[in-house]
């Protein structure tokens, strides 16, 4: 390893530059970290800094980054499920329509069925919980249904979910008759974010500190476990550096979202209601981590665990790598595929909660073309359409990359058709670049 990093006796600047990627690769190998993920982070850094320069410094502000985090949430949540779908050599084109269908059903439930049908009355504290449970159960059921037809009906997932795209959207129009349902339950709305739908200063710090402790402990536990078996382990400096990076990133993110205060009129309103005297500079209430972002982080952790640390995930990756081998090794491939679609449906339910709560409404166009954003996020995040390859953190970063491009262009007043053109080109270029890197490495 060290030979690759040590430069030859008298290298020119050009030689040094050319060696940089190799040296970086060797360094990443020594530290045992995912080079693909580093590349994605680097791409994101370039996009952020680029937009910050182009917009004259308005991109890298606490306000914009907070908004970016909330706007990325819904797509990121579904992208974690799409990774497993694509890894298993399938596709789900129905996620946008499923989201719309689930969101609409939840809106009807919380504004009519639960308050009137169950006689709870509007604003009852149980309504939001019942609605959330309904959304998750419905999502799981719809996903499992599609998965069942795909796995046991031997119909390609492209066809089944293309049918699903039409069916679920059609159902919305059939029972909504083009109507928008608004407003939604006041507690439910908080799940969509906003100043009140956030953790606040101390809650955010608590989450950040707990996360840091968990990550750092995890790094050292893994080290100890591998050392116990006498396996090769990361050099200690690499573990320490990774731990420090994790702490800086997590706590830095908390610091950023805490640096975004509530809007002035809302803060004044809050002060008035609670009898707080507004100080001369205005009352500053840090917003903190928005609930949709918290949900996204939770989903990403659970999905990563499922994908990498559980039999289910291992089997899904095996199916993607070699379906015949998976079948011959006794894996119940049909059941695995059905469950993958069940998980995807469940996550469409989670995103439906976030999106309707954020909009404070259900509209007939809810989730339209979301499937394209979700697939793009997974693919930009390194998921291969050949199957067997893809990571959950990659997909979440992919969603952030997409949203960063969109919101950066909005700030530069780029019109919507041009945004589509840019995102389309980036999508194809990202996959092309990835394929090129992969060819070179083998």
């Amino acid at each position: 390893m060290s030979e690759a990093v040590t430069p030859t006796p008298t290298p020119s600047i050009g030689d040094r530059l050319r060696q940089l990627p190799q040296a970086g690769g060797a360094l990443a190998r020594t530290a045992d970290v995912d080079t693909r993920l580093i590349g994605l982070v680097a791409a994101l850094a370039i996009i952020w800094i680029g937009f910050n320069i182009a917009t004259g410094g308005s991109f890298l502000t606490a306000r914009n980054l907070w908004n970016l985090s909330v706007q990325s949430a819904s797509i990121a949540i579904m992208a974690t499920g799409m990774v497993l779908v694509i890894v298993s050599r399938n596709i789900d084109l129905s996620v946008g329509s499923m989201l719309g269908f689930i969101g609409y059903t939840m809106a009807m439930a919380q504004t009519a069925w639960f308050p009137d049908g169950l006689g709870l009355g509007l604003g009852h504290p149980a309504i939001w919980i019942l609605t959330v449970i309904l959304g998750l159960v419905l999502g799981l059921a719809v996903g499992l249904l599609q998965g069942f037809v795909i796995a046991y009906g031997f119909i390609p997932s492209f066809i089944v979910t293309l049918g699903g795209l039409l069916v679920w959207r059609g159902l919305i129009f059939q029972y909504a008759q083009g109507q928008t349902i608004a407003p939604l339950d006041t507690t439910f709305r908080l799940l969509g974010g906003g100043p009140q739908g956030s953790l606040g200063e101390w809650g955010s710090w608590a989450v950040g500190i707990i996360a840091t402790v968990v990550v750092v402990t995890g790094l050292f536990l893994l080290r100890r476990r591998r050392a116990k078996y006498g396996f090769q382990i990361r050099p200690i400096w690499a573990t320490v550096v990774l731990g420090v990076i994790a702490a800086v990133v997590i706590l830095g993110a908390v610091w950023v979202v805490n640096a975004y205060p509530w809007p002035e009129n809302l803060a004044n309103q809050y002060a008035q209601q609670n009898g707080i005297e507004v100080p001369p500079g205005g009352l500053v209430i840090p917003t903190g981590i928005a609930f949709p972002v918290l949900i996204t982080i939770g989903v990403a952790i659970v999905m990563t665990h499922l994908a990498e640390r559980r039999r289910f995930g291992r089997n899904v990756y095996a199916i993607g790598g070699n379906p015949q081998a998976a079948e011959l090794s006794g894996i119940n491939t049909k059941r695995s595929v059905m469950l993958v679609f069940g998980v995807m449906g469940l996550l469409a339910g989670v995103s439906a909660i976030v999106q309707t709560a954020r909009l404070n409404a259900a509209v007939t166009g809810l989730g339209v073309t979301n499937e394209l954003d979700v697939i793009s996020a997974a693919v930009i995040g390194g998921t291969s359409f050949l199957g067997g390859i893809g990571t959950i953190p990659g997909a979440v970063l992919g969603a952030v990359v997409m949203q960063s491009l969109r919101s950066g262009m909005v700030q530069m007043r780029v019109d919507s058709p041009t945004q589509d053109i840019v995102v389309g080109i980036v999508l194809v270029a990202a996959v092309g670049f990835d394929a090129w890197l992969r060819r070179r490495s083998t």
């Binding site: 396996f231 640390r309 559980r310 095996a318 006794g330 083998t442």
Partner: protein
């Protein structure tokens, strides 16, 4: 090479009264009117290598797929230790101690060696979380014998050489104390050194009491390793003979003409010699 780990603790497999580990009786498989396997009967003793030879499409692989649960026969019985076994899928076959090393190796190319060795039988901790460290440890111990130079425990198996991939496939088959091993063309993709290594391994597994079905195109492999040789021709068994009582020419004649040595006419033999 030393003994397979845990081989001392391997329980003696049940045998039929005649001493057979496995008996396949009157197995037939047809694909759309073509008899791929036609009323074939075959048996295997512990510690025996049975060479299964024949031309392309003779039915060797289909017959073995029936035993490994990858192909359900139209008719016929499989007896394991004298008892009728119901084998409908690879999982059933494994529960009877039957392991198969496919010619294609059936590896998930995107996963590493230990994930492949434990594919479908992953070790988990009490919490249900995969015990990757324990799986890697077991794989390392197994590989130390099978292929001591093997070091790439954390790379996807697609980046490994043919011999290394073959050792991963073999490791998977013997990790779970199989009693019956099916090897489909185990040396076809290997270089001379790796072939020699696989041959050593087969001899060793044999001494440990495993019964091995060896499918091979390589007549030298078969004569080197097998105790008995079964020749298949157009879905039927031409004959099963002790290796010591047959010559390579006779076996080749059976493969090509589909007749027992005594049944071959002078003219056929001459034509065969001229063609050969």
């Amino acid at each position: 090479m030393t003994a397979v780990p845990d081989s001392a603790e391997r329980p003696a497999p049940p045998l039929s009264p005649e001493g057979y580990l496995v008996e396949m009786r009157d197995i037939s498989v047809s694909f759309g009117g073509v008899h791929a396997v036609n009323e074939v009967s075959i048996n295997l003793r512990p510690g025996e290598v049975l060479g299964l030879v024949g031309g392309n499409g003779a039915g060797k692989s289909t017959l073995m797929k029936v035993l490994s649960g990858a192909q359900i026969p139209d008719s016929g019985d499989i007896l394991i230790g004298g008892q009728v076994a119901t084998i409908h899928n690879p999982r059933d076959a494994r529960s009877y101690g039957i392991e198969c090393i496919y010619q294609t190796l059936a590896l998930a190319d995107n996963l590493d060696a230990s994930a492949n060795v434990f594919l479908g039988r992953e070790l988990v901790q009490r919490t249900g979380v995969l015990d990757d460290a324990a799986m890697e440890d077991a794989t390392r111990r197994l590989m130390k014998r099978l292929n001591p130079r093997f070091q790439n425990f954390r790379s996807a198996v697609e980046s490994l050489s043919g011999g290394q991939r073959q050792s991963v496939a073999i490791a998977r088959a013997i990790q779970f104390n199989a009693t019956i091993l099916i090897m489909d063309e185990p040396t076809a993709a290997l270089g001379p050194a790796e072939t020699a290594q696989v041959r050593d391994l087969i001899r060793q597994l044999k001494t440990e009491g495993l019964g091995i079905f060896l499918i091979s195109h390589d007549i030298h492999d078969v004569f080197d390793l097998a105790d008995r040789i079964s020749v298949m021709y157009h879905g039927r068994i031409v004959d099963t003979l002790d290796k010591d009582k047959v010559t390579t020419d006779e076996v080749l004649g059976m493969i090509i003409l589909g007749k027992k040595p005594g049944e071959v006419t002078r003219e056929e033999l001459d034509a065969f010699r001229i063609a050969g």
